[in-house]
Symmetry: C2
Subunit: 184 residues, 2 copies
């Protein structure tokens, strides 16, 4: 029986979450679904296209109601949501950051940050730079946190995890830089 695209995608996310990014191949996905790799390529033209869909699914699953009314809180809300969505799936930070770097997906967080800053009357260049700076910070922090926690859990390394809860403090530092620019 042929699989629907949404079934293949859900299985790909499960495979990633259970076995990590190295295990997420078209071949293994086909084997687990008991179809030829060509059946996977029918839905996803390439490994990159599959990764892009997986990244967007990770973000979609992490979507939360947004309630903040002031721009600094709105930026925080988007960044916290992005971080939590990535941390909720094994190697999620690596996948989402890679797909975004490829320009193939995971574009929503930056677009949402840009909208908040545009609505706050930030000049165009600052809108672009600040949105990218915020996601670079979120990706950098989430990649460290996920890599460290996964490696410690596997017993591969033995490092302290005490510094990891500083995500919000670093985020506030970047937002303070924006406050200075926006004069608010």
């Amino acid at each position: 029986m042929p699989h629907r695209r949404s079934d293949v995608l859900a299985h790909a996310v499960d495979l990633l979450d259970t076995h990590g990014l190295a295990a997420l191949t078209m071949r293994r996905l086909g084997a687990e679904l008991e179809v030829q790799p060509s059946a996977i390529y029918h839905h996803f033209a390439s490994k990159q296209a599959l990764l892009a869909a997986v990244a967007d699914e990770i973000l979609a699953r992490g979507a939360r109601p947004r309630t903040a009314s002031e721009w600094p809180d709105q930026l925080r809300e988007i960044c916290v949501e992005l971080r939590e969505a990535m941390l909720a799936c094994t190697d999620g930070a690596d996948v989402v950051a890679t797909v975004w770097a490829f320009g193939l997906g995971a574009a929503a967080p930056v677009a949402d940050l840009e909208k908040v800053l545009t609505d706050a009357d930030a000049p165009d260049e600052l809108v672009a730079v600040a949105s990218r700076t915020l996601v670079h910070y979120v990706f950098g922090h989430a990649f460290e946190e996920q890599t460290a926690r996964q490696a410690v859990r596997l017993g591969a390394v033995d490092r302290s995890l005490d510094s990891l809860p500083d995500f919000g403090l670093g985020l506030d530092l970047v937002i303070d830089g924006l406050r200075l620019r926006l004069g608010s």
Copy 2:
């Protein structure tokens, strides 16, 4: 003839730079040096230990004279040096960020940032948070830039690279956040 540790390390960096992180295995390194993998393990107890040495070698090769006298310029100098060192080697950002997350190496940039901030009389918590925030930003930006440039060069994706030169602008935004905290 047995290889010295420094020779094995230099070959590992070459292998990484030429073929990327996926190719950097103990087995392949042994094959290229025409020794058993056990000869590699004689110098590096594990793949993680090898990666840590490679990351520190990438940073050592990127070391530049530091000339800045004011703390914001000193922070910039360290971050620019870190970025350029990582970008100079294929998958350098991935390797350095991973090793740092493992807590196994690549510790010098954070230590250097902490020293600058301590000397600038920043309170202890701010020293720790700001140093980590700066490297998270540098890692996030460098990972995007390197992933994008490598994928475009390989013809794997077709995205604009126009936004990538904003590294310094984003860095200034984070440093402005610090200025606000330090009142200077």
